[in-house]
Amino acid sequence: MELKIKGWDINFVAQKIANDIPDGSYVNLGIGIPELVANHIPKGKELIFHTENGLLGMGPAPEPHLADPELINAGKKCVTAIPGASYFHHADSFTMIRGGHIDYCVLGAFQVSQEGDLANWSTGEPDAVPAVGGAMDLVAGVKNILVITQHTTKTGEPKIVKRCSYPLTGKAVVNKIYTNYAVLEVRDKKLFVLEMAPDVNSDFLKSVTDAELNFPKSYISFYVPI
């Protein structure tokens, strides 16, 4: 009987990202799961969070009675500002993004291709209302694009694919992919497995991945055969 493979908890994946981003980095977190990264900054590390609606030095959510509907993040949730924060208008905010001043952006994904193409803004359904926000600006401008996502869709379809079937957010833009099963890196238009969850092995990973996977000799696996 096959064991149910769960991989890492998504919070643990967020923690991995928080560990990997260097101290002192300027970071933009996408809406949803990427926001978890902010909960896991290691002690002694200082990251500065940028939200494209005009705040550098975003802090955590406020106590409910202190919430200010005019102090929000890109997901339109109430946030706080750290001492040393600054407010600015949208053109200045996207100067930070387009100008390559943000070090890391962590985004969710519908699909990521083995060449680093990202699809995360539209499923391409003809009658859906298209909405892009700042996603295309972020992937075009930020130095390092990290994706955090479940490895497959809720129905078990691969999200890490040879070629995205959904409309692209950007082509060859993703640097690393963090999923519940593995950490993958795009190098020279190829996808390398850097690390796998303890209950994941390479055969399993291939079985839930449409993309071609490369296993460098030095990849980390916590897999222990049972």
């Binding site: 339109k76 053109a91 905010s93 298209p130 909405a131």
Partner: protein
């Protein structure tokens, strides 16, 4: 004496004409000039092209303007939010046009409109469906898209404090599109929570210099869109 203060939101929007392009500040409800929008609903101006990041929530403010069939087209980056019902419905019925623009491209297009720059090039949306039909050009080995400036006949903007010259400061992330929209419209109309005497705003901290503003109206206690939406209010008031 220069005095850009007008006494009511009605007076402030009185000359907005059918078919005008109107830039409306705000990111969600933060910075959305809801009282000015409601005055525009009262006025009933038709066939507007609205440039705004979103399309409003519930049945008040920008959503109500759209629901009232005054808007022909919206130019925006994210035409739906948690509580957007009006725009999606009209859009699916084909009753409103949408020009979808990435948020940073929208911001820069508006800034260009204000700065006398007709076009600029950007990497944003290269190799995506939003690049279709756009002129491309390679600089330093990378492909860029040509994007055109956006200008408005009017801008409706919300701020925190203003003086009679039109100098403005904003509140936190409600600043968002306000300052660039002020620069890009022929007539910029601002609602301020407080009007102060010239010199009361530190000249080092002025965000929008008065030259970019034509009219200021004081709205001391602006409504909060999220509260109105939670109460299921509709404008015109039900």
């Amino acid at each position: 004496m220069i005095n850009k203060i007008v006494s009511s939101v009605q007076e402030a929007v009185a000359d907005i004409f059918d078919g005008a392009t109107v830039l409306i500040s705000g990111f969600g409800e933060a910075g959305s000039p809801i009282e000015l929008i409601h005055a525009l609903i009262d006025k009933g101006t038709k066939n507007l092209t609205i440039v705004s990041n979103n399309t409003g929530s519930g049945h008040v403010g920008l959503a109500a303007l759209i629901e009232n069939k005054q808007v022909k087209k919206v130019i925006c980056s994210f035409p739906k939010t948690a509580n957007s019902v009006v725009f999606p419905e009209l859009y699916k019925k084909g009753e409103i046009e949408l020009e979808l623009v990435p948020q940073g491209t929208l911001a820069e297009r508006i800034r260009c409109g204000g700065a006398g720059v007709p076009v600029f090039y950007t990497r944003t949306s290269v190799d995506t469906v939003l690049a279709e039909g756009k002129e491309k050009r390679v600089f330093n080995g990378k492909e860029y898209l040509l994007e055109y400036a956006v200008k408005g006949d009017f801008a409706l903007v919300k701020c925190l404090k203003a003086d009679r010259y039109g100098n403005l400061v904003y509140n936190k992330t409600a600043r968002n599109f306000g300052p660039i929209m002020c620069t890009a419209a022929k007539v910029t109309i601002v609602q301020a929570k407080e009007i102060v005497d010239p010199g009361q705003i530190d000249p080092e901290a002025v965000v929008t210099p008065g030259i970019f503003v034509q009219r200021v109206v004081e709205v001391k206690n602006p409504m909060e869109e999220s509260v109105l939406v939670a109460e299921n209010r509709r404008y015109p008031w039900n």
